[in-house]
Homo-oligomer: 232 residues x 4
């Protein structure tokens, strides 16, 4: 469940033409430059001029491959969405034991990797600005695919019912997304593995384990020889 961007699809103008090796290379340079520039400036502040300079090419060439700035962004975004959806599909059942915890940790680590590669784009597409446009719609669908995958596994593990599971899926995804955003934007700077450990634990305990009775309650139950519990 790895990460490298691999397969950005390219913008509308380019799709209409057959690309020769040279063209393909230029387009890739532009995509890479776009990623770099969007990363450091954000979508708005990014100037086509910056992208073009980074890609060591010209303005005209840019518009040979992409209809406009948003088109390049969209190309990068679709890549990220594909990764997101694959990530969702790759989430297996999380059992409430060490096996489940380990599986979850691996999955969380994948999330962190993908976010490292596509975070810029992911952050931007949730902007109010894109909400109306096609991109925003598809982006949301991608996110919902991911939270949906989480919801299903949560419900599987704890039988909380569809509605509750849905909310929990979003809450879980929220934590993962935002934490990585803070990390990536260097507003915080935690150790990579420690962060994964914490996230894993929080997700595991917060979403995949049945609710624990509070200690006092537990003590009483043990005395009586009781089992487990599941409140809302």
């Amino acid at each position: 469940m790895p990460s490298q961007p691999a397969t950005a699809l390219g913008g509308a103008p380019a799709q209409e033409r057959a690309l020769r090796p040279q063209g393909r290379k230029t387009m890739q340079r532009l995509l890479d430059a776009g990623r770099t520039v969007f990363e450091s400036q954000g979508f708005h502040a990014a100037r086509v001029d910056d992208i073009v300079k980074t890609a060591k090419t010209s303005h005209g060439t840019f518009y040979l491959y992409f209809a406009n700035k948003e088109d390049l962004f969209t190309a990068l975004a679709y890549d990220a969405m594909a990764q997101m959806e694959m990530l969702g599909a790759s989430l297996g059942p999380i059992t409430p034991d060490e096996v489940g915890r380990n599986a979850l940790r691996t999955w969380v680590a994948d999330f962190v990797d993908i976010y490292a590669a596509h975070g810029t784009v992911i952050r931007a597409w949730t902007d109010r600005e894109f909400a109306s446009r096609d991109l925003g719609q598809r982006a949301q669908a991608s996110l919902m695919a991911l939270s949906g995958a989480l919801s299903r596994r949560i419900d599987e593990a704890r039988k909380v019912g569809a509605t509750s599971a849905e909310i929990e899926g979003v809450a879980c995804l929220s934590m993962l997304e935002r934490f990585n955003y803070f990390q990536q934007s260097h507003q915080i700077d935690f150790d990579h593995d420690a962060a994964i450990d914490v996230l894993t634990r929080a997700v595991f305990e917060g979403f995949f384990m049945p609710s624990k009775p509070s200690p006092a309650v537990r003590r009483a139950r043990i005395r009586r020889g009781a089992g487990s519990s599941t409140p809302a």
Copy 2:
């Protein structure tokens, strides 16, 4: 732990002058208009022209009270920050029992209310764009104050050590912030109370309760008459 923007500080130009009642009123109209417009358009897409029209005043007047667009935004932001910091201060100890859970629920509900009132601003100030500027610095400080408060209470409850607690505080805040963002931007639309229940549960179980042994382990322990937990 409510919300109304009690104390907007006003832009530089205004601060240098003593405001008479009429001026005060105009300024308030501009602040309100700013909130409205930033809310519906976001900081970038918001035009000074929109704000001015909404406030039923003129461009010239705008710059009588605020040094520039960002200055008005900053005024709104400082309001939100104050609320955030107060919210942090209001978080008491969360004990691992029903009392703690209820206290937490109340606090989460406060968070939701404050986010409803200041979300737009909160969302925007985490933008990469502001990172460098003064506003960004202070905004981050506010956020860290909040996550710091969480960290302290988490460490208090589970003794996980400073570093781990810090990470957990951020993770917890991430979940709260992003979930509310999704909710507010209408990308999702869950029932208000159900959402608070879920968030409370996730925070409580995920951060304030000691780790549970997985069922199998637990059974063994119970037989032996064993006690506590296994942190990350």
Copy 3:
């Protein structure tokens, strides 16, 4: 039936605002500048920059009063159309005698004056480029209003039937329009009065007088004491 532009209406953005005297003046400067520049460069070659410099104002100001280059052009065009339509309305019956000929001459002279004032715009709006747009539609309507007026008077004078009259109206207008265009574009340079005389004569003899029998025929007829004739 005179000419001076008098009343250009101004573009969309300006119509939405109440204009104070100063604004009104600036707008008029822009309209005048537009006329001047379109005159010497044509619509395409005309640069907004040229107009703005001619009007001694700034780019920003231009877009305060007009949505874009075409909008300014349209404002000028509507003025010209109004003149055209008024000219059409002012064409009285042309009797096949000296009275009619004199009335026609006056009218032709009016046409020449109006063309001198609005020719640039008139020329441009028949461009294929505008055909599709709203402007083109309205422009054509104006032209047709004028040729329609001619048609009616022609039919009145010679009873040629609606279809034929319609064609003749267009033919007549064609001659007037194009002749003046050549004159104005300095591709030719004839004496003003001589030109009016020729045009008047051609229109009068070509469209408003009953067909003459050729001399040979006429001689025969006179001998027999005959009257007039009307072939196709």
Copy 4:
């Protein structure tokens, strides 16, 4: 007196080289494509890209045969000019009788045919834009050749004097040119033969017949047994 572009001269780059059959074919494809595209878009709106696509060839190839867009246009224009000049030469004396009228009708029909084939080009070259350049000069010369031919025949028929004849020639040509333009640009859509009839009549009566006395005058003259006419 028909039309096909017999002798397109070819652009500068091509003129310097001897063209082999394949090259000749490619060049013809480009000329045809140019005509088509200029026809539907006009000179300005026509994109080299459109021409190239229509000709199913490439940008590079275009500039192998033509120095630039105007060069291709010029090639087409010279063709049209040749036709115009031939048309002028083909205008025989127009006698003020049925014979003359019939000869004129044939000639007008030729004009209509030629305009149908070359109208786009003819329209464009009168644009202010070309006025200065070489093309504009030569185009005007062509037009003047045609109007000159008309002038001579008019003077021949009515002895109006050189100056007046010159003006009349231009007026006559104006009518023919513009009427056909309106027709071709689909701003009007008259029956082909009816249009030719009307044009013929207008030209014949308006330019080639001696002025008719108005009915009243005529009646008086006939009584006295009088003869001819009274020019402007």
